[in-house]
């Protein structure tokens, strides 16, 4: 929950991560393999934060990075792969071989974990769902409870509310108060921001509050759910950000190739994350020209209505 509302919650990414993300805390990230919080993940790795629990729906490269960097202790979620490209190399190395450390896994389905965030956002202890019944997800995950519903007597599964310590959500635009507007799909972001104890909004652009008021229907996360607002242009690269830039499939392919080998992965991590001072330095390394080509491609196909 937000301690105090005020006119200006803006800070740097370093400040926001340092203030809210602590060793051993639980995290969730906005986006859904697209509009991912890549810049925030880089900063978490740079600050050497450890023993994290990640509670999330489906993640690809950003979780592979976090796990490869040894920052994660536990995963509660539905999907850890690499989309159409393949399996996630660091996830496999961690789970199968304990390199660099073994992560605990608690499997859910996407609908099941979505209901955990919905319950968290509503501040109720549980939600009912018709997913996961009869499967081994329920067999191995004892927090999913089978019950007969007291109205009709049907079998139904209960899942407990999720309340991560911190939600980090990247959006297209926000004001300094923390009102966050999303264009395109919204994933579970509205619920993650509400379920978490603290919420950091990273955004492509900070806009005046007047601009927010002009399109109040697009405000997915109101100011009172938000603790920090950080402007991070290209903060999702190499993932896409609807209306801003397209998915960098070739960069991801190169990452995936490198990540298959632990040494090559560490070199990649050093080159793009550890040796980058900050997100602007990462953009410099990726190349501004490349980033703007991806923006040009995106805006060829869609532009957020003006």
């Amino acid at each position: 929950m937000t301690e105090t509302n005020c006119a200006n919650k803006q800070m740097t990414l370093q400040e926001a991560i340092k203030k809210y993300v602590k060793d051993g805390c639980s995290l969730t990230f906005g986006g859904f393999i697209g509009r991912d919080c890549v810049a925030a993940v880089h900063e978490i790795i740079r600050q050497g934060i450890k023993d994290l629990t990640v509670i999330d729906d489906s993640k690809t490269d950003m979780m592979d990075l976090l796990v490869g960097a040894g920052a994660v202790n536990r995963w509660e979620g539905a999907y850890l792969g690499y989309g159409a490209i393949g399996l996630a190399p660091n996830i496999r190395r961690s789970v199968e071989k304990g390199i660099p450390r073994k992560i605990e896994l608690e499997d859910w389905s996407n609908a099941g974990i979505s209901m955990r965030f919905l319950a968290g956002s509503l501040n109720v202890p549980f939600m009912a769902t018709r997913s996961m019944l009869g499967s081994d997800i329920m067999k191995y995950n004892r927090r999913i409870k089978l019950m007969n519903d007291p109205y009709e007597g049907e079998p139904i599964a209960l899942v407990p509310a999720a309340h991560p310590d911190v939600a980090i959500i990247h959006v297209q635009r926000a004001d300094a108060m923390g009102n966050a507007q999303v264009f395109g799909f919204t994933g579970n972001d509205e619920n993650k921001a509400r379920a978490a104890r603290h919420t950091i909004i990273t955004c492509e652009e900070i806009v005046p509050t007047e601009e927010i008021r002009h399109r109040g229907n697009l405000t997915l996360i109101p100011f009172y759910c938000v603790d920090a607002v950080v402007q991070v242009p290209f903060g999702c690269h190499p993932q896409s950000c609807y209306g801003y830039y397209a998915y960098d499939v070739l960069f991801c392919g190169d990452y995936h190739e490198a990540a298959k080998d632990r040494d090559k992965f560490l070199k990649w991590l050093d080159r793009y994350v550890l040796s980058a001072r900050d997100h602007m330095d990462y953009c410099e390394k990726v190349g501004w020209e490349r980033l703007h080509k991806l923006m040009g491609m995106e805006r060829h196909f869609n532009r957020i209505p003006g």
Binding site: A78, G81, A84, N191
Partner: protein, 283 residues
């Protein structure tokens, strides 16, 4: 590419496309399932609407998706909403057909996308797979489910190591209903060599259609139980040039079907952007 001038993946996409009907709402994962959906829209199902688990409903496809949350999944969509909402709409019965992949399938159509145990276990398996994603939800809630996977050794097994997504569970008549599941279960398993369906009484998977040039014994040798074969076993027609053209224009840089090899054969980002723009079209 086969000697016939098409790849196994292309044939799988074309065979899967035939499972969609016009005006249906389809819940389709990225990769070949999506290529199949786009192909169907170009032929018999122009009004098929595709839903992505990220929260995109009925996009007008301009370009290839690599992930369910790529911007492309939202291009010109009828409705842009939340992940929890589309899964709830699935649970409420609004989606007619779902298509999903798997690493293992058993004879009752149960799927494993979580882990291949080998001689190990769930927490330390031989191969950790991505997990359910939305697969379990599709299998639990959608009326008609189509499964896509390659017919390769150790994939068609008597019993999956980990039952991620329910098919007909133990195959008993009311198994799904007793567990509280909705939907009728899987209707087809499309592979690179054959198409399988399920016996309406026993719920056991059987060989329904064999693909051109494939031998029944070859199929049986790749299946881990005593596979039954339809009395009226069909042979799939060769894909038409129009079908192949449609599939290829849905993946013009061949990055979905062709994988790393295709990525490496591109000169770079400029070529990729140029190809994507060139083949973009409104469906």
């Amino acid at each position: 590419m086969s000697e016939n001038g098409y790849t196994a993946s292309e044939l799988m996409a074309i065979m899967t496309a035939k499972e969609f009907k016009d005006w249906e709402v389809a819940f389709v994962g990225i990769g070949i399932p999506l290529v199949a959906g786009i192909t169907a829209k170009k032929f018999h199902a122009p009004n098929l609407n595709i839903v992505y688990e990220s929260g995109c409903i009925g996009p007008q496809k301009y370009r290839v998706d690599f992930n369910v949350g790529d911007s492309s999944a939202a291009d010109g969509a009828l409705c842009l909403t939340s992940e929890w909402r589309v899964f709830s709409d699935m649970q409420a019965g609004y989606y007619d057909v779902g298509v999903l992949g798997a690493a293992q399938v058993d004879k009752y159509g149960n799927l494993n996308t979580t882990a291949i145990f080998g001689d190990r276990d769930y927490q330390s398996p031989k191969v950790r797979l991505p997990g359910s994603g939305g697969g379990n939800d599709i299998g639990s809630n959608i009326g008609r489910v189509v499964v896509m996977l390659r017919l390769e050794p150790l994939r068609f097994v008597e019993k999956v190591d980990y039952l991620t997504t329910p098919g007909y569970l133990d195959g008993s008549p009311d198994a799904r209903k007793k567990a509280g599941l909705q939907g009728n279960g899987p209707v087809a398993v499309v592979t690179n060599k054959a198409l399988f369906r399920f016996d309406p009484e026993t719920h056991e998977m059987y060989l329904d259609t064999i693909f051109p040039g494939v031998d029944v014994e070859e199929v049986k040798s790749l299946v881990g139980w005593d596979l039954k074969v339809a009395a009226d076993l069909k042979t799939a027609p060769e894909p038409t040039p129009e079908e192949l053209a449609a599939v290829r224009s849905a993946d013009p840089a061949n990055l979905i079907m062709g994988g790393a090899a295709a990525r490496n054969s591109l000169a770079g980002l400029d070529e990729y952007i140029a190809i994507t723009k060139k083949y973009s079209g409104i469906l």
